[in-house]
C-alpha cells in the first residue's frame, strides 16, 4: 500500500536551525575575444590579441578563483556548490542557454557569488533580475561597483565584500535569515493562539511575521498534548481525541528513555533537591514534546505558562515546561517560555549567530536608589535572603540590570562545549517541575549579547552587557537570575519599552553580527 496512506504523518523529522547551511552558488563569467583586433574593449598586443590568449588567461584566473572559493568561507555556515563557468565572446550576447546554465541549481541556491574575467556585467544584472535571489561579488577592480548599483536599482538584494571577513560575516547572517525562514514552531495553544495572557508584548500578528520572515507555526491543543503525555502504547484511549490512533502518546519504551535521561541528569548535577520521580515526571513531558515536534517536523517550541497553569492540569500532572525549554535550547532548538514569540525568534537569532544556547527571563533594570537595589522582586518570586545577599555583593555598582526565570543552560559557552556545574531544584515549592539551577556568579566579567523583536516585527533591539552577579541558585521557582551591567540602564529601559519584557541573552560579544543580521532582515536596529 502507498506508505502515505498508511500514515499521513510521514515526516522528515526535525531539521534544526543551527544545522542549516547557506548554499552559495559561485559563477565565473569569462569573456574572450574571437578575433584579433585592437580598440577600447581590449588591451594588449601581438599574441595577447589572440583568442587562445584570452582563453588561457580566463582559465588561469578561474583556476585561482575556484581555489579561493573552496577555502575562504566558514564551512559551518556556508556550503559552496559546484562552481559554474560561463564563456562569452565580444558579441556580448546574453543567451537563454547561459541564463539557464547559471540558474540550473536555483532550487537549492540561496546566494549567487560572481567572479568575472573581463566585462560580462550586463549578463549578471539580467540574471539577477530573473532569478529573484540575492547575488554578491568580492570587490574586483571596478566590476563590483558597476554590477551592484545596477542590481540594487532594479530591486535585487546584492552585496559586495571588500574582504573575506566581510563575506563570511554577511554569509553567516544570511544563513541565520534562511534558518529563520525555515523555522517551524510547535506552539501549544489554550484559547488565544496569537497572544497569551502573560505575554501580550508578543507579536501583534503571527500571520504577519510568517509573511515577513517565513517562520511558520504548528499549533497543538494543550489538553491534547497533556493527554499524549500519559504513558500508553495504544493512543486511542485519550480523553480529548477518543478513538484516534495518532500514535502520539509516550510509549513505555520512550518512558524508559525518559527515565534514563532523568537519571543521567541527576547523576551529573552537583546537588539534586528533588525526588527522583518528580524529575522523571518532568522528562515525561519533555520526551512527549520531542515526539510531537518530530512528528510535526518542528524545530522550535513555545507554550503559555499562566494560561495552562490555570487549568490546574500542570499541578495534576506534576510537571512544568521549564526543563523542556532548557534542554531544547541546549540542543539548538529555540524554546521560549510564556508563548513569547518575539523572545523565541530573538533566541533563535542569538543562538545561530553565537552558536551558544540562550537564556530567557524577565529583564528589568535594577538601579540603586535611596540605598536600595530597586525593582528587584523580594518575596514570592525571588527569595528575600537571596536578594539581600545579592544587594550586598553588588554594592554600589551602576547601570545594573537583572534577567531571571528558571530555564538557564548548562552550556552557556557554546553548543558542544564542556557542561558547566549545575544543581537541580523544583519549580513548585511542593516539589514538582525540575529546573536547572546555575550560579551566574561563576561568570562575573563575562560579556553577553541580548536581543528582542518588537511586537510589530519591524524593529530589533540589540544590547551588550557584562555579568556582575547572580541570584537564585539555591532557590526554587522562577528565580534563577543573572545581574549584568549595561552602558546606561535608563537608556536601556527606555528602549526596552518599545520591545517587551523578556530579552534573551547569550555569552559573547556578537553586536556586529546581530546588527548586520537586523539589517539583512529589513529591521530597524536599536542598540543599547
Amino acid at each position: 500500500m502507498d506508505p502515505r496512506v498508511e500514515n499521513a504523518m510521514m515526516t522528515t523529522g526535525m531539521k534544526k536551525a543551527i544545522d542549516v547551511k547557506l548554499n552559495v552558488q559561485p559563477i565565473f563569467v569569462a569573456l574572450y575575444h574571437e578575433h584579433v583586433f585592437e580598440g577600447p574593449c581590449r588591451f594588449g598586443a601581438g599574441d595577447e590579441l589572440k583568442k587562445e590568449y584570452d582563453l588561457a588567461l580566463d582559465a588561469m584566473i578561474y583556476d585561482r578563483t575556484k581555489e579561493a572559493w573552496a577555502t575562504m568561507f566558514d564551512p559551518q555556515n556556508v556550503n559552496v556548490l559546484e562552481p559554474i563557468i560561463i564563456y562569452r565572446d565580444e558579441t556580448f550576447l546574453t543567451t537563454d542557454w547561459m541564463l539557464e546554465e547559471m540558474g540550473k541549481t536555483s532550487k537549492e541556491t540561496d546566494v549567487y557569488l560572481f567572479a568575472t574575467a573581463s566585462r560580462p556585467y550586463d549578463l549578471i544584472v539580467e540574471f539577477a533580475q530573473r532569478i529573484g535571489k540575492p547575488i554578491c561579488m568580492m570587490q574586483d577592480c571596478c566590476g563590483s561597483s558597476i554590477v551592484i548599483p545596477a542590481c540594487r536599482a532594479r530591486g535585487v538584494e546584492c552585496y559586495a565584500f571588500t574582504d573575506v571577513e566581510d563575506a563570511n560575516l554577511t554569509f553567516s547572517v544570511l544563513r541565520v535569515r534562511k534558518a529563520l525562514s525555515e523555522l517551524k514552531v510547535l506552539a501549544v495553544v489554550r484559547n488565544n493562539s496569537n497572544v497569551s495572557i502573560s505575554a501580550p508584548d508578543s507579536f501583534v500578528s503571527l500571520e504577519d511575521v510568517t509573511m515577513k520572515f517565513g517562520a511558520r507555526f504548528r499549533f497543538i491543543n494543550v489538553h491534547e498534548l497533556m493527554d499524549y503525555s500519559h504513558v500508553n502504547n495504544d493512543s486511542t484511549q485519550n480523553y480529548t481525541t477518543p478513538g484516534r490512533h495518532d500514535g502520539m502518546n509516550i510509549t513505555e519504551e520512550e518512558m524508559k528513555e525518559a527515565e534514563a535521561m532523568a537519571d543521567e541528569f541527576i547523576a551529573k548535577a552537583d546537588e539534586c533537591h528533588m525526588e527522583r520521580d518528580m524529575v522523571v515526571n518532568t522528562f515525561r513531558i519533555y520526551r512527549t514534546i520531542q515526539k510531537v515536534m518530530n512528528a510535526y517536523e518542528c524545530n522550535a517550541f513555545t507554550a503559555p505558562c499562566p494560561d495552562v497553569c490555570a487549568t490546574r492540569r500542570i499541578n495534576e500532572e506534576k510537571f512544568t515546561f521549564c526543563l523542556t525549554h532548557t534542554l531544547n535550547n541546549e540542543n539548538g532548538i529555540p524554546s521560549a517560555c510564556e508563548y513569547d514569540v518575539p523572545a523565541l525568534f530573538a533566541a533563535m537569532l542569538l543562538q545561530n549567530v553565537s552558536r551558544c544556547p540562550s537564556y530567557q527571563g524577565n529583564t528589568i533594570t535594577a538601579p540603586k536608589i535611596g540605598g536600595i537595589r530597586q525593582f528587584v522582586p523580594r518575596g514570592a518570586l525571588l527569595n528575600i535572603e537571596s536578594v539581600q545577599k545579592a544587594d550586598v555583593e553588588l554594592g554600589d555598582l551602576e547601570n545594573v540590570c537583572l534577567t531571571f526565570h528558571a530555564v538557564p543552560t548548562r552550556f552557556p559557552k557554546g553548543f558542544g562545549t564542556e557542561m558547566e556545574p549545575y544543581s537541580i531544584r523544583s519549580f513548585a515549592h511542593s516539589g514538582f517541575g525540575a529546573t536547572v539551577r546555575y550560579d551566574f556568579k561563576r561568570d562575573i566579567g563575562q560579556t553577553i549579547t541580548m536581543a528582542r523583536f518588537d511586537p510589530t516585527g519591524t524593529k530589533l533591539l540589540v544590547a551588550k552587557g557584562t555579568i556582575c552577579g547572580g541570584v537564585g541558585y539555591g532557590d526554587r521557582n522562577c528565580s534563577e537570575g543573572v545581574f549584568f551591567q549595561v552602558e546606561n540602564s535608563s537608556d536601556f529601559f527606555q528602549k526596552q519599552l518599545n520591545f517587551g519584557n523578556h530579552i534573551p541573552l547569550v555569552y559573547g560579544d556578537w553586536m556586529k553580527e546581530m546588527i548586520r543580521l537586523g539589517e539583512v532582515l529589513g529591521l530597524e536596529v536599536i542598540t543599547a
Partner: protein
C-alpha cells in the same frame, strides 16, 4: 443569564441647540431684518420657538425609531454677538459625555459654527447638524479637516440614516466574540482560512473584541454535574481538574428540557429522537453559560478541527442548533470559525433587526439530466431534494440562465422576518445521518420573491462585498446534514463569483434591502465597497 445581545443596543444622542441673541439694536452683515426683528426680544422669542419645534421633531417615531435611538435631555446653549466659546458652555454640553454616542445639533439663528467645531474637537464624538442651509458645509468642512468624520444632512431622514450607521458602529464596539479555538485562534485552517488575517487588526479597525476558550473545555462542560465541590478532582472536568466548571446543574437541566420540548412542539415535522435533540439544546445552553461567564455576545467554533478529535461523534453533538438559536436572539454566531461571516452577521442584524443566514455559495451550474453530478447527489439525498428541488433548479437554469447563487448550510432559523416576528414554520432533522446534531429545517420556498441583501468582509478587514438578490427557491428542507439551501436570484453570477473570490466562501444574507446602509457603514469604517 445576563448576555447583552447587540440588537438591543441604542444610540444615545445628545440633542443640542446653539442659538444667538443680539444684545443691541443695530444693523450690519451679521444680522438681517428691520424694526422689532432687530430686538433682543425678537431674537430670543424666535430662537426659543425654533428650539421647541426641534424638541418636538425628536419625538417623531416614524423618523427616529425609539427602539434604536435614545435621545438624551436637550441642552440649550445661548450666545450673543460676541461669539465667545465659554468653557462653562462646553462643560454644560459635555455633561454625561461618556454616555453620549453622538451630538445632534439644532442650529438656531446666526453663526454658531465655531462652537460646534470645538465640540467635535473636544469631545471627539460625531457631530451631526440638523437639517439647515447648505451653508453648513462651513462647519462640516472644518470638522473634516481635523480628520474626523462628518455627516452631510439635507433632511431628517438623512439624520436618521446617519444615526443608524453610528448605531451599528456602536454595536461593533460592543461586540465581544467568544472564540472556541482548538488550534489557530486567528483563523481555522481546516475550515475557513479565508478568515481574518489578524483579529487584532479587526479590533483596531472596528472595535470588536475577542475572548477565547477551548472547545475541549466546552464539551467537558456539557456533562451535567448537579453537585460540584472545588478541588474534588473526581467530580470536576477532565480539562480543568479541581475547578468548578460551567456544567449544567439540575436547575439548568430543567430549563434545557423545557426548551427542548417547546422546540419539538413548535416543529411541523420532527425526525429526531428527543434525547439527541436535547443534547444539541444542552450544547447551546452551555455555550450561552460560557458567553455569559466571559461577558460575550457572539460565538464561533470550528467544525472540521473539532470534529477531527472525534469528540462530537462521541458526545453526539454538533453546534448547528447553537448557531441557529443564538442568531434568533440577536447573538451573531458563525459556523466553521468564520469570523468575517460572524462580523457580517452582526452588521446585517444591526441594520435589519432580523436574524441572518450563512452558508456555502454554489452557483447556477448544475449539470442537466438525471445525474446532477457528485456534489449535488452527495449533499442532497432525500427524495424531495432529488425529485423536486434539483429538477426545479435545472429548469430554472435552462430557462432563465444561471444567474443565481445557492447559499447552503444547516443553520437556518425562525426569525428571518425579524427578531420580534412570530417563529416561521420549521422542521427538525439531524445533521449526522446516524441521527445526532439537531438542525432546524427551513423551507425557503415559503419566501419566494423575498428581497435579500448578501454581504461579506475581506480577510484584511478593508472591504465590504455587497449584493442584492431575490429568493426564487429552496433546497434540502427534507434532507439531513449541511444541506439547507436558499436559491437567490442575483444580477450576474459570473460577476458575483469573480468579486466574491477576493472575499471568501460564506456570504451571509438577511431579508430586506440594506445596500445603501451598508455602503454608508463602509464609509464610516473607511472601507471600500465592492458591489455585485
Amino acid at each position: 443569564m445576563s448576555i447583552k445581545p447587540i440588537k438591543d443596543i441604542k444610540l444615545n444622542v445628545r440633542p443640542v441647540s446653539v442659538v444667538l441673541y443680539h444684545d443691541y439694536v443695530f444693523e450690519g452683515p451679521c444680522r438681517f431684518g428691520e424694526g422689532p426683528q432687530l430686538t433682543y426680544d425678537f431674537d430670543k422669542t424666535v430662537n426659543l420657538m425654533m428650539c421647541k419645534a426641534f424638541e418636538e421633531s425628536l419625538t417623531d417615531a416614524s423618523v427616529f425609531d425609539p427602539k434604536k435611538i435614545n435621545f438624551l435631555p436637550h441642552i440649550l446653549i445661548e450666545r450673543n454677538e460676541e461669539f465667545i466659546v465659554k468653557d462653562e458652555d462646553m462643560e454644560k454640553v459635555g455633561e454625561d459625555i461618556e454616555n453620549v454616542d453622538a451630538f445632534y445639533i439644532h442650529v438656531g439663528m446666526s453663526r454658531t459654527y465655531d462652537f460646534m467645531i470645538e465640540m467635535a474637537e473636544r469631545f471627539n464624538k460625531p457631530v451631526i447638524l440638523g437639517p439647515t442651509m447648505a451653508i453648513d458645509t462651513i462647519t462640516t468642512a472644518a470638522i473634516a479637516a481635523t480628520g474626523r468624520k462628518v455627516y452631510p444632512v439635507r433632511t431628517v431622514q438623512d439624520v436618521a440614516r446617519h444615526f443608524d450607521v453610528l448605531r451599528v458602529k456602536k454595536m461593533m464596539n460592543n461586540l465581544a466574540v467568544l472564540c472556541a479555538a482548538r488550534l489557530n485562534s486567528n483563523r481555522s485552517f481546516p475550515s475557513a482560512p479565508d478568515g481574518f488575517l489578524s483579529t487584532e487588526d479587526v479590533t483596531k479597525r472596528m472595535g470588536i473584541r475577542f475572548r477565547y476558550t477551548d472547545p475541549h473545555e466546552i464539551l467537558d462542560s456539557t456533562v451535567p454535574r448537579p453537585v460540584q465541590t472545588a478541588y474534588d478532582e473526581e467530580t470536576t472536568n477532565h480539562t480543568t481538574p479541581g475547578r468548578i466548571g460551567l456544567n449544567p446543574n439540575d436547575e439548568d437541566m430543567a430549563v434545557i428540557e423545557k426548551i427542548t420540548d417547546e422546540f419539538i412542539a413548535g416543529a411541523a415535522e420532527v425526525e429526531m429522537d428527543r434525547e439527541l435533540i436535547m443534547r444539541s439544546v444542552k450544547a447551546w445552553y452551555v455555550v450561552n453559560k460560557f458567553m455569559d461567564h466571559l461577558d460575550c455576545n457572539a460565538f464561533t467554533i470550528p467544525c472540521p478541527d473539532v470534529c477531527a478529535t472525534r469528540r462530537l461523534n462521541k458526545e453526539k453533538i454538533t453546534f448547528c442548533l447553537t448557531h441557529s438559536l443564538n442568531q434568533e436572539i440577536g447573538i451573531p454566531s458563525a459556523c466553521e470559525y468564520d469570523i468575517p461571516a460572524l462580523v457580517t452577521q452582526a452588521i446585517l442584524m444591526g441594520f435589519s433587526g432580523k436574524a441572518p443566514y450563512m452558508g456555502n455559495c454554489e452557483f447556477g451550474n448544475i449539470p442537466q439530466g438525471d445525474d446532477p453530478g457528485a456534489f449535488w447527489s452527495a449533499m442532497f439525498v432525500h427524495e424531495a431534494s432529488k425529485n423536486e428541488d434539483i429538477p426545479f433548479l435545472q429548469k430554472q437554469q435552462a430557462e432563465k440562465g444561471g444567474d443565481y447563487v445557492i447559499v447552503t448550510h444547516a443553520v437556518p432559523n425562525r426569525k428571518f422576518k425579524g427578531f420580534d416576528a412570530e417563529n416561521a414554520p420549521y422542521a427538525i432533522r439531524s445533521f449526522a445521518r446516524s441521527g445526532f446534531g439537531a438542525t432546524i429545517r427551513y423551507d425557503f420556498k415559503q419566501d419566494i420573491g423575498q428581497v435579500v441583501t448578501l454581504m461579506r468582509i475581506d480577510p484584511l478587514c478593508r472591504k465590504f462585498f455587497i449584493a442584492k438578490g431575490e429568493v426564487i427557491g429552496g433546497i434540502g428542507y427534507k434532507d439531513t446534514n449541511c444541506s439547507e439551501g436558499v436559491v437567490v436570484k442575483i444580477r450576474d453570477h459570473a460577476d458575483f463569483f469573480r468579486k466574491q473570490s477576493y472575499f471568501g466562501n460564506h456570504v451571509p444574507l438577511v431579508y430586506g434591502d440594506y445596500v445603501e446602509e451598508l455602503k454608508a457603514l463602509a464609509e464610516e469604517f473607511d472601507m471600500e465597497v465592492v458591489e455585485a
